[in-house]
């Protein structure tokens, strides 16, 4: 198959992948009973009435963790082409890749020393 066909396959897959899991939901929508009442629809909290809004500020730890992840994830994407062309690389390109990984390690050590990796 040609390249266009490969991506056409993925495109059709994306549409079908929405439809297939939705089917049981539609079937369930036809057959299921509907008897809602206020208590049934209340937010579940072990029998106690919930206080205040759920959508509040969250702990900064999650933000920090997301930031560290983002740095690694974005930089790792740059290493994929390097790994693909690996066997054709000359020593300069090879060294450049290693240097890049060293910088990544440096970032990890920095985050570690700054206690960004401690779960508080």
């Amino acid at each position: 198959m040609t390249v266009v066909n490969e991506w056409a396959f993925i495109g059709v897959s994306m549409a079908v992948a929405w439809i297939f899991p939705a089917l049981p939901l539609v079937v369930s929508w036809i057959f299921r009973p509907r008897r809602p009442n206020a208590i049934k629809m209340a937010t579940y909290e072990c029998g106690v009435e919930t206080v205040g809004d759920t959508w509040v500020q969250f702990k900064v730890q999650y933000y920090l963790n997301g930031l560290v992840f983002l740095v690694f994830d974005v930089e790792l994407i740059f290493l994929f082409p390097w790994a693909i062309a690996y066997s054709q690389l000359d020593f300069f390109a090879f060294g450049a890749g290693l240097l890049f990984i060293f910088l990544l390690t440096d970032a990890l050590i920095y985050a570690w020393k700054k206690n960004a990796l401690e779960w508080q």
Binding site: M1, N5, E6, W7, A8, F9, I10, V12, S13, M14, A17, W18, F20, P21, P24, L25, V27, S28, W29, F31, R32, R34, A38, M41, T43, Y44, E45, T54, W55, F58, K59, Q61, Y62, N65, G66, V68, F69, F72, D73, L76, L79, F80, A83, I84, A85, Y86, S87, L89, F91, F94, G97, L98, I101, F102, T105, L108, W112, L117, E118, W119
Partner: protein
Amino acid sequence: MEAQCINTLETLAPCLVRGGMDPGLAQFLSIAAGVLIVSGLPLLLVIIFIWVERKIAARVQDRLGPNRVGPFGILQNIADAVKLIIKEDITPAGADRLIYTAAPIVAMLSVILIWSVVPFTPIHIGADLDIGVVYVVAIGSVGTLAIMMAGWSSNNKYALLGAFRVVAALVSYEVPMIVALLIPLMLAGTMSMQGIVEAQQGMWFVISAPIAALIFYISNMAETGRAPFDLIEAESELVAGYNIEYSGMKFGLFMASEFLHSFTVNLLFAVIFLGGWSGPFVHQVPVLGVVYLGIKSIIPYIFTIVFRSTVPRVRIDQMMAFNWKFLVPVSIVNVLLVAFVLKVVQELGLSPSPENVHDFAANLPQTAILLVTNLLMGLVTINILRNAGRRERIADQNRALRGAERDSAIVPTAIS
């Protein structure tokens, strides 16, 4: 010619064109048929996976497991699905309705789409993308999005807390997974899934890169929320986690996607590290590839299930520390080491040339050197861990000792 027309999807389009159909329409029909098979298959197989998992987990815990509906209880999950379908579906009052309904569909979608790029036989693959591995990683992350959607839209504090934790953990474990993936890419020289399997005809990557394989396996176990990393549903702390408000078929979809995901990552493990469909006579009888791939993915899958039913759950801080302070450094050092050794091997001319890459003997020198490197690195890592543990234990003992001395020194004076 006629036989070919019936056998493979690849030749479906040319056959239809020969039959007098418009080429564009024929192309579309062949793609649609392929998509239906590739996305329908996991949805049918998930019923069996859930049964296998329940049965094995039951045996480990000295129970019988499902055994009433059908032979060996194999139809139990169909009965469960029917039950879930006719259950009332409750949307909590404050929920964000659109996102709340979309979340279980997205969770299922993120797993189904992975099957599009899995090579089942030398000729049967949904789409052999040039960037197959990146596609798999990207689609895998969509599952994390689904969990966040569910937790956020439920308007429930337990659900939101559960979702936060899970997203933090899943996102972190993606880093060692991607770093570990670099090594098979280096060895294969391509990101296409079919290309990776082709490159393993001579030697499986699990032998030349065992540490990368182990890291990939562990982080996948965490990605799918399997014990010991099943903080997704820490019942004692979070009631049920992100899907606490879900009921009926929406809950069922979350459960199904979780079980399916746990098999799918083992399928990927088999493709990337265990040689996928490769095995004897596979080029003569392509259908054998499905059998080989099935066997290769079921073996790690059973290990996952046994781990799940025997290992206790870790705390969230332990889970994050294990990732950032152990898996990530080890995977980075592993990439550096393997990259260096592989370059030396290539410069010395010991690696197989593109012509004889399928030959077992030609792969031996390179594989042996890489295997020794990996084993040495494993030994060093274990030693460092042991020393660090010992030092920590001694420090703990000293601290306890000092504390006891201080207490015994202070307490009498306080009384007098």
